[in-house]
Symmetry: C2
Subunit: 296 residues, 2 copies
Amino acid sequence: MFTGLSAFPLTPLDDDRFDERAYAGLITRLVEAGVDSVGALGSTGSYAYLDRDERRRVARTAVQHADGTPVVVGIGALRTSHVRALAQDAQQVGASAVLLAPVSYQPLTDEDVFALYESVTAELSVPLVVYDNPGTTRFTFSTELYARVAALPSVAAIKIPPVPADPAAARERVAAVRAAVPDHVSIGVSGDGVAATGLNAGCRAWFSVVGGTLPATALPLARAALGGDAEGAVAESERLRPLWEMFAAHGSLRVSAAIAEHLGLVAPRCLPHPILGLPAAERERVARVVGELGLA
Amino acid sequence: MFTGLSAFPLTPLDDDRFDERAYAGLITRLVEAGVDSVGALGSTGSYAYLDRDERRRVARTAVQHADGTPVVVGIGALRTSHVRALAQDAQQVGASAVLLAPVSYQPLTDEDVFALYESVTAELSVPLVVYDNPGTTRFTFSTELYARVAALPSVAAIKIPPVPADPAAARERVAAVRAAVPDHVSIGVSGDGVAATGLNAGCRAWFSVVGGTLPATALPLARAALGGDAEGAVAESERLRPLWEMFAAHGSLRVSAAIAEHLGLVAPRCLPHPILGLPAAERERVARVVGELGLA
């Protein structure tokens, strides 16, 4: 489950309500493309913006339409008791695994974060992915904390932040994490623009934003890298550079939503407010890049 | 309402449940000390960690025990529709004003934040305090954005982040904000360690963490500064330096909780997990400082 392409779809809203039909369509699209797992309610799936009932519905819809493809469900929340309730909900609707980021409002200490994972894993029946995303959680894991958390029961993978763009530095970084955590814990890369670099550096999974909306675009890169064709993966990533540049400028969430809206996969303005999505000029650029790269 | 000491109490939990009795005691303590307003459900009141029902109960309890002292209620949340619902709840239970920070998970743009305030103020019957707290929201207001937001209906005050410690730089900063926003919009300082500096630099209110737990400690400083005794305010602030140093090291929330726990005002471990609160050695230091400064 923690090898290959883990695709993170949007959770589309329509007039501030969960658009279940569009979401089912996104899940079906991923499964038909052949992704290795579906990451429901990741950052791209706006988990932090949805209430408990919505999150249960989203997770249930993902599992129902995944047709046997493993579904990893995000359970992050600010309060430990809420995380535990979300973990129960995810397991009840059939999640194959859960994904947990140390979401913060007040900055968290290492001890706070360790205790969070300890509390949640103590009552978990499915594997857990440690989700390290300092750009949204504002918490930065040390390699030592990876080691402590990875030794907890049920921890099966770590979703690490973007690796350095330099291949040697990326190899060094992945090797350092690899050396710190038990062998059974998979290391997966995030940050689509450096996915090829991360996979070539030894990550076994790609937790992918672009793969959640454009799975046929992401799969060749993942297959090349994990099949040993490092140069092919880099070439595929280079081809997609205009996309990575837009991700860097506006965030992958806003760009993915604009792509999905442009392709008619979701209703217009599918993101939870206050996130307005891209302005008109940037939407035109997205449409142009989608056309030029043949991403539709 | 937006002049003087606005005191922000903790929202104490007991075994992960809102401790209404302890909270009522904290509110009574503030009112008896004579604070100018109560800031319920600020960052110190853990608003971001509580669900809608809890927040309604907290706001109602604050108003019930405030005995006519104005209560400002925090309505921040990640999603605009949730903020609007919380604004309705706060008004229904009798809040005198609301306080809104642009809470973020995905980093927000200026347009996102402006649209949030525009949407919320469009249907508001009480004044709104713009809450600028980059340390928890990770959003930084420009002075231009202050000006745009302050021109919206119902905006009555801005809670600015800590001013520079240098008095001249602080005066320059407050003057810049003052020049950018309409005259009827009050500017209040936060960051207890520079409260005297901020008040002496022209802020008319102090949105105070320490004032929420130790009102009798905060009031002399506020009264001195706002009464024109700048030197007296500075001397009072200097006296409290050991407290500011602990705030800087551990965050004002954890230290305030430790003080309230030490004084028996709240149950032990009153903060929402995963926030563990101070380790034992630091709690001893807190107790020592409370004793030495005569803060009880």
